[in-house]
Every structure is written in C-alpha cells, then in structure tokens.
Chain length 329, copies 6
C-alpha cells in the first residue's frame, strides 16, 4: 500500500493520505490483465481488512489472486511525497517485517502456482528486501526454469534497500535463470561492471556506447533480450524518455518522448516491463515491442497511482499513431 | 451538467465527480452577461432540483432564465475525463433523450423570446443532437432573420454526435440565415469542401492558405464576417492558439499565444464567440475584435468549468496590455 | 492568516478555503528556526482561537512565541487567488484594523524582546500598514542599533498598501539603522531614485547596470551588504530567478534558475531573506551566501503555504549539488 | 450509478457528487458473493468507461460479470439527496432510455445464463421500468421455472416509477413463478388487496394482523415463504426495524432493532433479500433465517453506498451475539 | 461571510474552511424570495471579488441586489466552530470595521430603496454593531413608518456584541416604529423587564407565564403581533422547539418539535422570521402563520449554511402534513 | 500515527486516510500541557519525516520532545475504522517492530529524563507490546520510585495485544511501584481476580459492588487512589459514562453522562487520566478530581483525533457549570 500526501504537500504538511495498492510485480500483473493476458500475483498477506482491500483491488483489475497466501503481521507500506519543480519526490519505505518479507519457501505451493504458466516476472526490489526472499526467489526461478517458463527480470535497484555491492553479488547469482533482462543504463553498468563506454560531450552514452554496454553484458551472460530504459530528469514534472532493445542479432532505439506535466511517475518502469512481456507474447517484432513498451511507460506518467490504468488502444495510438492531447469527443 | 473526476483521475479511478453547468450557448450567454450585455438563454429542462441548480447557476451569472421551458424527463449530461501530458481528455456524452433534445417548436414562445432581441447565437452541437432540434433551430433562424436579428453560428463539429456528411448537409441548409460564421480551420474545410490551399512544410495552412479558405467560403455564401480559430495541440496541457477574421474588404490575424498549464480547455471556443459578439456590439474595429476574442479564449484555459469567469479588465489587460502572471497585490 | 481557494478556483467559484499562517517576518523566523537559528516572532494578536492556531503553528516550527502580546480585535487576513498560465494571482488584503496594526509602542517590552538577540529583521510591508506601525518600527530600530544588533530590511514594496512617494519617503527615514538591505531591482530603483543604468536590448539591466544601481545606492547610504533579487515572470507557473550581492569590495551574481510548475510563490522572497541571514551568521563567503539564499528562494516555489518547509540538506543539494527531481528512494 | 451530494448538502448546494454503483439485484449479488455464494449479475450496459467502472466494481466484489451484454446508449443513473432529521431523502431517477431498459429478450443468452444456476432473484423495480423489461422478466421467469430454479421476488414498489394499479396488475401476472415473496406490509396489502386486518390503537398491524395478511396472500397464491419487512420511520436518521416470515406451517417475528445514526439506508431491503437467500441455501431454520436477514438489513444502515460491505461474522454477531458498538481492538 | 471548519474540527485543528454567505436580514430575504415574495437586500460592501461572490450568491437566490452600495474596506466575517454532543458551537465575530458597519445614512438612497416596498425587516444584530448603524436604522424606520410600510423586528440579542443594558436602552428607542416583534422568551424578558411570570417546577414558563409575558410587553408597547420562539437545548445536536404568537385578541402555541441530528442551526431564527412575514403577507390565520414559521425554522436545522434552502412544499408538508423522513422516490 | 478512513467508510471502501498522532501516554502529555502542566514525552522514533511530523505535532501542543531518542526502522501505526450505529469501530494494529517497541533500556538517559520530574504516567498498552518494553518500564518505575516520583498507571487492557493471563501476571509485577491505579471495572476484576461482587438485575455492579471491588484490590495492594471508569455502550455513537474514585478513607461516584453523537471516542480514557493527574497536582478534593476528570473524558468524545483539544474552561464549565450545547456567541 502506498500512502501519498494530497496536493503536493510535504509529509510534514499533510493530515490526509491518498492510498493505493501496487508494487513492482503487481503493477506488471495489472497491466497485463488489462491487456487480456491472464495474470496471477503471488505474495503473502496478513489476514486483515487492509489485505482484503488489496485483494479486491487486484480482483477489480482481473488479476488472479487465488494463490495469495495469508499469515504474518503486516502488509508492506511505503510513503510517497510527490515532488514538483526543483523538489524531488521522496519515498519512506515501511516494508520490513511484512508478511511477504518474512514468508518462507514452504508457504507457497509452487506446483500449483506454476501450473499452466508460461511466463514468470520478478523485480530486483523483491530480492533486495532480505536474504530470505532472495532464497525463495532463487528456488522459484530454478523451478520455473525446469518447467521451461520464460523469465523476465527487472533490476529495479533502490539504494535505500541495499548497497551496490550486495545488489551486484546477489543479482549475478540469478541471471543464469533469466531470459529477458530489463534495467536502466546506470544500474546495468553498475551490476555488470561495464567500462570504457562511448560518451558524448554531456557525458551521456552515445548509441555506440549503449551497444558497447549490451555487448559487455552479453559477454557475461547471453540473455535472450536486454532492454535498457533511458530517462533524463529535467525536473520533478518533466522527464525525457527513450529505450533500447538488444538481441544477439539485432537492436533498436525507440523514439524520445518529452514527458511534461508528470502526474505520477511511480510504476512507469513496471509498465515498460508489462509492455515488453505483452508484445513478446503477442509476437511483435523488435521495433514494435520497444515502441509499445515505451508508450505504455510514457502513458503511465499521466495516471495517478502505481498501476497503469490505460487501454491497449491508447498505448497503440501513442506508439503507432498520432495521439497528442486533443479532447476525444 | 458536466461531471468531471477530480485530480486528473480516470473515469475508472474516481468515486467523486465535480459538477458544473455549461453548454455551448449557455457559456456564451454567461460571458456576455458578465460583460454587461443582457443575455437570455433558451432551453427546455425537466422539472426537478438538478434543473433548479442549473437555473440558479445561470441566474447567479445574471443570465435571463425567464424563457426557459419546463417538461420532459432529463437534463443532458456529459462526463469529462481531463487529460494530462500525452493522455488526451475524453468525453462521454449522455445527452440523448434530454428534455431539450426531445422538445418541440411549439414548446417555445418565439415572439416573446425574440422581443427586444438584437442578436441570436447558435452552436453546431445543437443542430447535431437530432433532426427535431435542427428543425426547431431552422424555424427560429427564419424568425430571427425576419426580425433583422443578427445571427452568429459556431460550427462546433463533434464527430461523436454526427457524421461529416450529415453535418455538411445540415449546416449548408442554415448558412443563408447566418451573418457571423465561426469555426476552426479543419471544420471549415470539411463543411465548405475547400481545396488546394497553400501549406507550409509542416502541412499547416499559410496565411495565404487561410485567405484562400475564406475566399472559397465567400464564394459559397457571403457571410458578414468569418472567424477562424487556430489551435496547435502540443500536449493535453499545452496548446498554441491564434485566430483570424475575414470580411469582404479586410482580414486580420491575431497574435499567437503559447498556452501552458491548461487548467480547463472546455468552453474556450465559446469564450471566443462571446468575445466576438461583445466586441462587434461594442463597435470595436476588426483588429480589436480579434484580439479581444482571442484573449477571452486564452484566459478561459485558466478557469475551471465550462464558463469563462473572467472580468472585462482581465481580458483587456491580456489583449491590449502586458499581463503576464505577476501576483496582483 | 492566508485564505486560498482550492484547486486554482477563482474567488467567485470557491466555497472552500485552505488556510495557513504566514507573514513576511514570520516566514523568515520559521525558516531560520528550521535551520537551527533560534528565532523569536513579535506581534500583537487578539485573544481568540484563531490566534491560538497561529501560535501553535509557530510553535510547531520551533519559533519562540513568548513575546507575542495579546489584545485588540482581529488577526490580519489576506485572501489569495492562485493564478495559472496567463491568469495572474490576486491578493485581497484584509489586514486593516488588526490587533498588530493598531498596537502601540508600549504594548511591547523591548528590553525583554532584545535580550540576547543578535539580529533583527523587518519587512517593508510592516512599515506600509500605517504611520503607527512605522513609528513603532523606527523606535525599535533605534533600540536595536543602540544594542549593536544587526538589522536586515526587506523592501517588499506592495502598491496596494502605499504609494511610491509614501514608500520612498518612509523607507529613507529608516535606512540609517539598516545593515543589510534586500530588494528587487524595480523597488530599489524606485526607492533610491537611480538613473542612467545600463540595459540590454530587451530593456533589462545588464550586469554592469546592476553594479551601477548598487553604486548609486551606496552613494546614498553605505549598507554593509545589498542583495538584489531578479525575477522574470514567463507565466503564473513559470518564473526565472537569479540574485546579486554587493558589498563595498565585492559582488556576485548567482546562477539563473528556470522555475517551472510553480506550486506556491508567496513567501519566496522571505526564504531568500532567511537564507541570507542564516548564511551570514554561518559566516559563508559571498558566493555561498548568495547561492544558499537563492536555492532557499527557488525551493520555496515547490512548497504550499507561506513558509518554506524545506530542510537544510535540500537547500544545500540544490545550491551546491545536482538535485534535479529524481525520486529519492 | 448513484450520484450523491457530499455532507448532507441539498442538490442545489452541491458541486461535488459521490458516485457508487448499485441497483436492487446487483446489491443482492454483491452481498451473496461476499457470503461465498457464487453470484452472477445480468444486465445490458453501454460500451464506455462508466460501464467499465461498474463492471470493475462488481468484479472487485467477486460477482460474475461474464454474462453482461454490451450495447445501447447509456447507463441508468439516479441522484440521491440524503435527508437528515425532519428533512427526508430525495431520489431523482434518470434511468429511462438506459441500455438495460431498452434491451430485448434476444440480447441475452438464457441457456448460458441459467446454466448451473439454482436461484434467480428479481426486484419489482425492474418490472416497473417499462413493459419491455416486464416481458423479458416474464419470459426469464418461465425458463427459470422450467429448469426448477428457485425464484425470489422483492416487491420494491416505487411510486415514482409506476402507479399502484399498474404495479398490482403486473405483479399478479408473475407470482405464479415465484417461490419466495418479499415485501413490506404496505406494499403487500396494496398488491394483494388485503382487508380487515387487526390493528392496535396507533393503527399499526398487530402480530395477529400480520398473520391475517399472510393468510389472505396465501389464499391468492401459495408461496413457499412470505417475508415481510416492517420499518417505522422516526426521522431520516432514526428508524425501527423488524421482520416476519410466514410458511404454511410456521411463522416467526424477528426482534425489533432501534436504528439510530443511519449512515445510508439505500439497499437495506436488498441486504434483507440476500440474507434470506443465503440462509435458505444454508438450510437455516425459520428463526435463524429471519434473524440473519434482519441483521444484514440493519447493518446495511451503517455502510455508505448501495451495497452491504459487511462480513458474515459481523452479521452473525449482531443476529446471534451481543455486538453493540464497542471498539474492536 | 461565514467561515466554518469542516467535519466538526475545532478552529485549532482545521486548515480548511467552508465558506457561505449569510446574515440575519439576508437570510430572511433569501427564504422570502424562494417563497416568491420579491425581496431586496440593503448593505454596503467593499468593491472586491469577495463581495462579488456575496452578490452572486444573493442573485442566485433571486434577491434584488440593485440597491447594494459599494465602498469601504472590508466585508464582515464570522468564524463558526460547529459543536457536537456536549461541546457547544463557538462564534468568533470579525465584523468590526466592515464597509457596512462604517457606512453612513447618506450612502443609501432611501427614496429608491423604499419605492414599492410594503415590508421592512430588521434584526437586533444590526443595531448592536455600533451607534452609527443604530442611527441609520432609526432614520430608516422613521421613513418606513411615514410610508406606511409594515415593520418587523427580530431582537436577536448577542451578548458578545453588546451589554444587556445597552441593548435594552437601544431597542426601547425603536419599538414605536415596529409592528411585528419577534424574540425568544429570555430576550423578551430582559428587554421589557417583565416580572413574576408563572413557572413550572423545572423553572420553565408555563403557557400562563408566556401570556403574562406578552401582556406585560403589551402594556409597554402595543405591537400588532408578538412572536416568541422557545428552544430547549438538550445537546449541540438535539434541541426542542416551539413558538407562540400573541395578538390583542388571540394567541396560539405551535406544536413542539424534537430536533435531533442537527446539521446547522445558524439562521433558524431568520427562517422563523421569514415564515412569519410570508404567512402574514399570504393572509394565513394565526395558527397557520405559527405552524408555517415553526416548520421553516425546524427544517433550517437540516440545511448546511446560514440560509434555508427549503421549498414551500417541504415547509407545508411538515407544518400541515406528515413528512417524517421516509425516502421520497 | 493513526490512519482513519474518512466519512465512516469501511477500510475496504476508502482510498483516503486521515492521519493524526497519538498514543496513550502522548495523549495524556498533550492534555496536561494544555492545562499548563509542563509535560515531557519519552519514546524512540525512526529518523524520518513521519517522525518529524509527530514531533512537530507534540511541539505544537507544547509537549517537551527533547528526550525523544532517534533510531530504528519504523513508527508504530494503527488503522481505525470508525463504527456507527450497530457497526462497531475496528482497530488494526501495526505497531510491531516499531523503533519504540524494539528499543532498549540503555537508549534512554533516565537521569536526565527524571530530572525535576514529579509525576510519571504509564499505560498498560506499553507493557503489552513485548517483554522488552515491559522490562524497560519496570526499570524505569524502580528509578522513579527511588526518586519519590508519583506514579500513575492506566491498565488499558487490549485483548488483541496480549492474553488475560499474560496481562495479569505482568501487571501484578509492577503494581508495587504504582500510586494511582486507573482502570475500567471489567479489567480491574480480571487483573485482581475479584469475586462475589454485588450486582443489580441487569448484572451491572451496584455502588456496593464497586466498593467491594476496590476493597478486594486494596487487600492485594494499597494504592493511594483507585479510579474506575464505567462505560455503557448503547451504540457506536451513544455511550453512557461515569467514574468512581476510592481511597482508604473515602470514595465518590461522579454523575452519569449520556454521550450521544460521539465524534471520536479514542483517547477518552487518556483524557480521564490527564484530568486525574491535573486535579491531583492542583490539590482538588476527591469530588472535584472525579468530576473534572470525567468531564475531560466526556468532552474528548466531541473532538476528532486521539488528543483532547479542549480548554480548561470548557472542562470546568461541563464539570461544575451548565454548558449544554448552546452556541457561544
């Protein structure tokens, strides 16, 4: 559950918090469901009415909640202070000791969970929470792999959750089970220890530099596909966004978007992931995969909350058409 | 009545709707009243407390409501989802079967309505609702014409209300009763079937192209004045706006405005129309008519709701002065 | 107390007012307290629950309220309509006849007030309210000077409170007691009657012109330091900001900030003053004083209310680091 | 969709409407789902985002929405002004011309709808909307009967929807297909034309009178069970409630509840119906059926919206335990 | 303008104030207008947008605002903290120095004001504000009397505005111009110095005592009619109310109302006055005058704000029918 | 921090939570500070902006926060669903693993904490959290005792925090350090295992029974004073309240209050405790102690939030005067 002061108030100014439910993997599941890909969300929740609200929220968005396990003391929370102009957004995590973070491998019925499943998505945030969760994920990944389930992994590094060293060491342990790797340029460089990349005069990677980055990763582990998201932060409400996809034989850079009047940026990376999964499942070509996923990511910035409440037609209009803010009437 | 989710929520996210009253002709009447031009609004409303609210709203803004007729089942509604950034605004109309749309010519006492009236304004939206309303309007226009009342018509084409063919056929039937024709470039081209207009490399009409457009219209019907509004949509919250006026002997292009941080765009065209009517009645010259009307239109973007709650001094400051966002204190 | 319609509504559209407490000197005291400079606020308030709220607000922000005097009829109010885009903000003052504006010199125990005090800050708004307050201030300044207390004065000219002539005449009477003078370029020119300043083709002062301005002021009165704030208003939500500091032997121009998505501009000048006082007390050099004060001023634009609820680290990050709107998580 | 002014404002005072979804049969379905009785809701909705919200709402509450049909122009609305003290609540219906009310028998796939269904519930409001809907219901009832599906019918007479004569004539046509008949004393007397019932000095029916009422109905049609709800309205926020069940060989009167501080009374009758259906399916005895259903009805008065968001344990605590408003902590 | 913290918050808890317009005479004018008695409101307002809102509010409710005069500095305000249970409501007046309270007799064009006027109503609050206003009222009353305009006066004693002695002395100066005198039992006893009234064992006046009260007043001045309102305060949300009318030859006591769940009590006395004026103008008999006025007063308790937004049918239903809180649908 | 859904919504209905700060001992400290008894609050908080808000809240209410210690991961939370009518309030605690509950004895500088302190108050909730906190409390009590600091203890049993057996065993270990014991009748019976108390026909304790209860406790431990609060719950919004005080030589029963329209009951017991402490410090006699404390408790029910934002005069008016809900104006 996210708790957000209203009207761009600071934490210290607010006595009213908007709540919504989300989380990296949940956000991916919701958007996939809304794109008509049946999705299931796995977690452990305490047996109370806050959890009931979370489950009703997922069910409203057509996510299968039948494998959610009950027990433990609390639902993980985080507080979000929305930034504006020169003031950045701030997150206070309160997810330690949650039912999920203290759950054990045996809480989950993995055979049932993976029955008829063709894709398994996991976020680096989950690995970061504690060693226990890392081990659960690792075992789950092994099972998934043994069942030929496709695995996507979004690095999602958060410096307040773990150190760079810990992240690097941990993530390198799981990449062998991962088919699709998603991350931003900074985190990919950090995890894979890349070097000597080509940069322009503003010290930004050039296209050539991005390719070098992918090739150095490829030398460490041959992912089926690497996706890089590129974000330039002009201000809290103004970002620029593009992305890149790399495969052994091919690569593609999406168009750049100039995202002004950002309403809510949280979850935009998860929309990108969902867009990637959807369009791979739909057998789009590399260009369309990337434009669809980028469009989903960009449109998320215009939606309140963690999830991307956007229709497939809207993503397509922006990705492939010329939607630009006219009133539809 | 317009129903709008708060805080840029999507329809599917909202359980709270802001309401306000408006409608093309009502918006024009409210701004004219606030500019001290006595105005009267004609419609038919059901006899309930929602209508009472609508009437109190008009009365608050000094619009004469004495000729509003009561009966029928419902007040026309529309739902507006406000867009932001790359997400466009969306309108869901729910105005079918309204008391007004199902009213008949004989519901209204046209002699009383037109008594001491010097100007009659009508919007294309009204014609679009159904054939019945078209016929009422047509008869009303004939009476107005017979009484030497000046008639302004705003094309206001809405593709969700009627097809291009139907609009074209219908509008061409009434133009002979119209003195002042207002529309945007796209709708004017469509209705009057213009062709071979001069365009720049971005495929936008050049000044020369706009003149050609007006001249081709002039060849079909000699309006006293043609007003063209020009809007470039950068994003949901950022538009550029200019306008043009054409008369047989003269024409003028207003300055371009760069409208950022749009609060509410609905009704801005109606503010333009009211600005046109006010400044023609006030015998402004063509340049001042156009700058006044454009300023009214531009300022509307900074006001919540359908109506333009802006003072005459504020319109003049922007049109003719240098108002630019300093705090007035 | 400030009363502000919600959601950018106009006064005439609103039936809900957000309230917050502030005022030029109070805003300075709050930011200084939050920067760990013990601060005391002097005023006179009526003995009612609105005042109690004001005092609780100051106490919450660690301002010493023990010298506030009680009596009289009312707390000064002002109504703020927040502008957007081309529509400027509007202030309606309702501070006449307040307890403070009708207080007398003997209401305050100046010996106690100035005990252990090293700095005294005063705003031109206070002088503007009436002759009575001017005289209280004048006497207080004399006492402060006699005790070697450093005095800063922010011109803060408001045309709705007094005429230019009155302001000029009054302010010139007190400058001999002032060490640090703060003002914007327009007000400084007006008060000190400067002339023949160097300007660029847009008629803006050049760096050379600013220096001439300071030197002409210096010829009238030798302030310890002169601070000039420079603001260019692009729209209600978009300003550009820079500042300058002049001392007999030195001067410095801060970087220019491009402030978009302004949330609340009121009190930004007071944040600048507090930044100046803090960094002088902290013995920063001229460059750091100016960058710290400018950063405080710029960040204020992203905070609701009159006060600057910003941490020292945040001001430093923007002034000396590279904070630019990334989410901190 | 229900639209309700906030904070007990009158329609004419409100510019903010709370929305929620509901409707007699939908309310029954939601409570049954929450009691773990799989439920399906049948209607026709326009293909827009308002309908999408309605469907998400039902799905959130676990109601099967797979048989909902799309088409037509509008979703039925109603406006509710919540009364307080001596001021009664007011409803403005705006459900004419809705997709549902204009739907036809062939829009629905009855074989699929009734597959594996054991209970069919219908409300008198649906019959009241128009002859078309009555005929659809009549045919559906015949099919249900032919498949040995149990049928419950809640009279739910609304004087603004149809006349007493029309209601009587219509309802008598369908009772032969009904097993469980639910109604309040006033409507039952009206529909079944009962006479000479025993009354006390306040002119209220005595227990004996209620029995006479049921016996006279029984003489007209032998329902499996008749349920009578009894409500005494002290004020808008204070009602008294009891109920009675009659079968050929048995009858029972529930305890009287004194319902103060009513939050939202709409849908309480539907909660009674759901309670009846649940406890009959659960094979409760007549006493427990009635106390469970009454408790569900009474608790609904403490829940905002049309649906009864109450847990089974809470209904049982009130029905069979001693829950009385202590904080549960 | 009234400013009220939301949701029963105390002044010290609130940062959001609901605003509405009202005032003793304005409230009377609004209800009379809504009862189709053309009404005019006289005051002086500053020339700003807060006043514009006040005027739009009156115009919305059909009150003639054409004689309102502009000038001066401020609109009178008051802050209302709504009580609940054992905590009483609290008012902080901030109406000193208002444009109205500092206006002079010559600001108003009395010939124009009283043209075609048949009734003049005045409240004791206006007399209480200061001597200046008392003198304006006194002169206005003389003119009204000279024109045979009927005068009603509501004592409306407020202890925070003046002392008992001052009120008594002042009010006795104007009673000779008053035809209809309205007050509660406590204030009438105080102003007219009554004595030895018959009381029951709870020390409440008996019917006989009320008659003695009226007769003693009658001995001092022969009013056409005396109205006494009787209120028993059980708690902030629960009052009992009745009223009495006395004429030389007749008297009547209305029924007692038990008013629970009070939403907003302010202005209920003004609704009583408006009810009195309306029903005297409508030539009701003494019983109907009193029941109508009491009903208007009682219903006001269920309406937010100072004015009584209630329809004539609703007042009649409660006064003469059996409206008791059923939903009207 | 308490998180409460608005407008009596259930947890599952709400996407907006009101926040406020409180806690048993904090509530006592705030009311004592507002009664001019200097108070200090001891806890451990994480070093983030949520804690900063909590501290600002305490400082606003004049509570000394200088001994609050920083560290650990989280601030304890609880969610409150406000009941209404037959629906009881519900609390979901989320205070496990809070910085305070995981703090150690050595985190606190007890010499500094108890310097110049004359009274130490502790609540049973703190003991209930875990054994660690119990031990810290036990040690602190020993130090307090050794310094002749008076100790009050409020049993505050919460069944969701610990079992009866655990509570009994734990509390009996600390009573030797307690001078003033406060509890409700049910908890006192449970902890002290009382038996054979005199009861009336409704099974409620008689006055005689309460005396027996106190005497049996007295036989176990000779407290200086025992306070018993007595609450009868009619519904969520309607309670009855009284209290009793017992000393070796004396006892007193306060009047019964009928508390309707309860706004917020949480913290009312803490207001009673603060009232007890205040009036003992103020050397009130036993009757006045009890009436003052009861009045504080009763008035709390009319204030939103955990703390009792009530003035001393208001408590006295209800305790000793005749305040009953009249508007104070």
């Amino acid at each position: 559950m996210r708790l957000t002061p209203c009207d761009f108030n600071r934490f210290t100014q607010s006595n009213l918090l908007k709540t919504n439910f989300g989380g990296a993997e949940a956000n991916v599941a919701v958007l996939l469901s809304s794109l008509n890909i049946p999705s299931k969300f796995i977690t452990k929740l305490p047996n109370n009415d806050i959890s009931k609200s979370a489950i009703e929220f997922l069910r409203q968005h057509n996510v299968d909640t039948s494998e959610i396990v009950f027990g433990g003391d609390r639902l993980g929370l985080y507080f979000l202070e929305q930034g504006i102009g020169y003031r950045p957004s701030k997150v206070i995590y309160d997810r330690q000791y949650s039912s999920f973070s203290m759950s054990s491998f045996s809480d989950y019925d993995w055979e049932k969970i993976f029955k008829d499943v063709s894709w398994f998505h996991i976020s680096g945030i989950t690995l970061a929470l504690n060693d226990n969760l890392f081990n659960i994920c690792l075992e789950a990944l092994k099972i998934a792999k043994s069942k030929n389930i496709k695995v996507s992994f979004d690095i999602n590094y958060r410096k307040s959750l773990w150190s760079k060293e810990k992240a690097k060491e941990t993530i390198l342990k799981i990449i062998k089970y991962v088919d699709i790797c998603i991350g931003n340029e900074e985190h990919l460089q950090m995890i894979f220890d890349t070097h000597d990349l080509d940069r322009d005069k503003h010290n930004e990677l050039t296209h050539c530099g991005y390719l070098q980055l992918c090739k150095q990763i490829d030398a460490i582990h041959k992912f089926e596909k690497i996706f890089i998201t590129m974000r330039r932060t002009v201000s809290s409400n103004h970002n620029k966004f593009s992305s890149m996809c790399y495969t052994e034989n091919n690569h593609y850079f999406s168009r750049w978007y100039d995202i002004t009047d950002i309403l809510d940026r949280v979850g935009s990376g998860d929309s990108f992931s969902a867009g990637v999964i959807y369009s791979i499942i739909s057998k789009y070509d590399i260009k369309d995969i990337l434009e669809f996923a980028s469009s989903a990511c960009v449109l998320k910035h215009s939606v309140n909350g963690d999830i991307c409440d956007i229709r497939k037609e809207e993503i397509e209009d922006l990705a492939f058409g010329q939607m630009n803010g006219r009133i539809e009437r």
